[in-house]
């Protein structure tokens, strides 16, 4: 058992870090090195940097496309996405030393869990959604839901102090194994998620830079 915790807590994080960053760098370089394609923009699009940033920010924060065109999915998806944003925020707060603040973790976990489950249930029960879904689509949602599910059960979001010393250990290359089994389990799940992230569709948040900036928004004004 100790050996396993040591592996998960001390060895695997560096592997994860390498695979995660390597994977993302590979994907981004692959797309960034794409040859310049023919103009294929869609009008109208924001032509100033300010306009583009604000449109992307609105999309990320409110999922406006879903709100306008696919309302049935919007609520659950918003719940899941904000759940993820809050959990990431919580992790950053923990790293930064605000270990007393646990609500973004709890709230984020809850939102993410119910959002992802809500999408999965709808994906499965709506006949139309079901026909376009592959097992991988459920697997993605399952992974997204599993972290908060286990986290909420094991009280992960209340262990900020332990998590922080653990994370600092990793960051300073003096790794210490996670203080207890449940913490180790949560850390394992997060690592699995990160290992998979760059290689699946869930990396769409990064791909969006290219689909919007390089394709849909074009790169020149039509008046140029």
């Amino acid at each position: 058992m100790d050996g396993l915790i040591y592996f998960v807590g001390v060895v695997l994080p560096y592997v994860t870090l390498l695979v995660f960053s390597g994977g993302f760098i590979y994907q981004i370089v692959r797309l960034a090195r794409a040859p310049l394609h023919l103009h294929w923009e869609l009008f109208p699009y924001p032509e100033t940097l300010g306009g583009q940033v604000s449109e992307l920010a609105t999309e990320v924060a409110t999922l406006r496309s879903l709100y306008l065109h696919h309302r049935k999915l919007w609520g659950r998806s918003l719940l899941m996405h904000w759940g993820i944003y809050l959990q990431v925020l919580w992790l950053l707060l923990v790293l930064g030393g605000w270990e007393k603040v646990s609500w973004p973790g709890f709230a984020g976990g809850l939102a993410c869990l119910f959002g992802a489950l809500g999408i999965a249930v709808w994906r499965y029960t709506d006949p139309e959604m079901r026909t376009i879904s592959s097992p991988a689509d459920y697997l993605n949602l399952f992974l997204v839901a599993l972290i908060p599910l286990v986290g909420l059960i094991t009280g992960f979001y209340g262990q900020a102090d332990l998590l922080r010393s653990y994370l600092w250990g990793i960051a300073s290359f003096h790794p210490i194994p996670p203080a207890n089994g449940p913490l180790a389990l949560n850390i394992l799940l997060i690592q699995c998620f990160l290992l998979y992230l760059p290689f699946g569709r869930m990396a769409h948040f990064a791909a969006k830079y290219f689909t919007y900036h390089k394709v849909k928004w074009g790169e020149v004004s039509r008046h140029a």
């Binding site: 065109h69 376009i132 769409h204 791909a207 969006k208």
Partner: protein, 456 residues
């Protein structure tokens, strides 16, 4: 013809060759399409293969899916997945290791038949791409799929053998010779005198003119009012302009390569370019033709270096709107008293950015102008796009009418319009049929025609 996908067949047996083995060739052609030699659309193509979240938002706005009563086979994601499942199976590690998990499938001959037909049910209107949260482009997937099909010899003969190939040989896809062309011009001058009471001399093959106006050659036969209207407007504006005959090279602005092949796209563009250079004109004016504007204004930019095309490209709509704003031409809206509405062609609107120009013209030239709902970037494709307007084999016309056409007919009825103004030749072809098919109490008219009618 036997059934391979739904009740229609866009591709005849001699084109589709449904019983010949084509799987290996398809996979090979697809392999090539994924390489950077397919640079023209590599980035959007790869993004659209890899990052669709299967959220289904595209289906909510897809005209053919909605109009079909949400038939599963017309779901945009279902269609794109036909190509993606091959991509995953033959070209990704995940698909080779866990085909069932990621949605990878072996390609079969029947699979090719269904894919080929399915990829000629979407007009590449890109309404879905406009609303997709990830900006994934089902229309582009369709176009890339058509390119692969063309690479293994499957392309509608209307678009290729009797389309681009004829155009490159005869100068226009209608296969009209110079003598016939000049006859039509003469006839038009007489018609203009009869209809508008104006003496118009239509200049042809004039070298060094400021504006070379190139129409969709089909307009000379099917929609002569557009050609005549434009001539009246250009003469009224007092500009130095010309049409050209097939004797000078290409005198047809269409480019069906836009719909299925980058190779054909480039060949036609280069031939048009050469004609314009030989004539030594200053501005290449695209007549009322949506996809031609896309080709010459946008697709050409990175395909042919700027130094090789020393002229500007403009839509006739841009010039007409500009001349109205400048007061160069004067109009009296009282001369068009009917209720007029405007249909945004996908290629001129979403793909071309021309939303204001037609409205400037129509609001000035018509007494009662009303919008269709929805319009502009959310305009519904009429169903004539991506080549469909000239494809009517078998029951294909019925497909066009019962799906896209049905939505459009409803929209026109709701608007209560008496005239629907159009600025795209393929739209005109489709609306002519919609109006017939649904016996709608209205007519269509070219924007230039309405403008000519309102000139004082």
């Amino acid at each position: 013809m036997r059934k391979v996908f739904d009740d229609y067949r866009a591709l005849a047996d001699n084109v589709l060759r449904p019983d010949e083995p084509r799987v290996d060739k398809f996979v090979e052609a697809m392999g090539k399409s994924l390489k950077k030699e397919n640079w023209t659309f590599w980035l959007p193509y790869v993004l659209s293969l890899d990052y669709c979240m299967k959220c289904g938002t595209c289906a909510e706005v897809c005209p053919v899916y909605q109009a079909s009563g949400r038939r599963e086979i017309y779901h945009p994601v279902k269609r794109s997945e036909m190509l993606r499942s091959i991509y995953r199976r033959y070209f990704t590690l995940g698909g080779k290791l866990w085909p069932g998990l990621v949605g990878a499938k072996d390609l079969t001959e029947d699979g090719i038949n269904a894919l080929a037909e399915s990829f000629y049910r979407c007009t590449v209107c890109r309404r879905c791409a406009y609303v997709c949260p990830v900006a994934i482009d089902n229309g582009l997937v369709v176009r890339e799929g058509r390119k692969i099909l063309d690479a293994i010899g499957i392309a509608p003969d209307e678009l290729k053998d009797s389309g681009t190939q004829i155009q490159l040989k005869a100068g226009n896809a209608t296969n009209m010779g110079t003598a016939a062309f000049l006859d039509i011009i003469e006839f038009m001058e007489e018609e203009i005198a009869d209809t508008w009471g104006r003496q118009v001399k239509i200049p042809v093959d004039k070298k060094g003119a400021e504006f070379l106006l190139m129409h969709n050659a089909g307009d000379y036969l099917a929609f002569p009012e557009t050609v005549m209207g434009a001539a009246v407007v250009l003469q009224a504006a007092g500009v130095d302009w010309t049409l050209n005959s097939p004797a000078t090279g290409i005198n047809d602005v269409v480019n069906y390569g836009v719909f299925f092949s980058d190779g054909e796209l480039e060949k036609v563009l280069r031939a048009q370019l050469k004609t314009a250079l030989d004539l030594g004109i200053k501005t290449f004016v695209v007549g009322e033709c949506g996809h031609a504007f896309e080709a010459l204004k946008y697709l050409m930019q990175r395909l042919i270096p700027a130094g090789e095309r020393p002229f500007e490209v403009k839509s006739i709509l841009e010039l007409e709107a500009q001349w109205i704003r400048e007061g160069r031409i004067k109009v009296d809206p009282g001369k068009n008293r009917e209720i007029v509405t405007y249909h945004d062609s996908c290629k001129l609107g979403r793909l071309g950015g021309l939303y204001e120009e037609p409205r400037t013209i129509l609001q000035a030239a018509c007494q009662d102008f009303r919008e269709l709902v929805p319009n502009r970037e959310m305009s519904l494709c009429c169903g004539g796009g991506s080549g469909f307007a000239i494809m009517a084999k078998g029951d294909f016309l019925k497909f066009r009418m019962e799906t896209y056409g049905q939505l459009k007919a409803q929209q026109l009825t709701d608007a209560g319009a008496q005239v629907v103004a159009l600025a795209c030749s393929n739209c005109k072809g489709q609306f002519r049929e919609i109006i017939n098919y649904y016996k709608l109490p209205l007519r269509f008219a070219g924007v230039s025609e309405l403008l000519a009618n309102a000139l004082v």
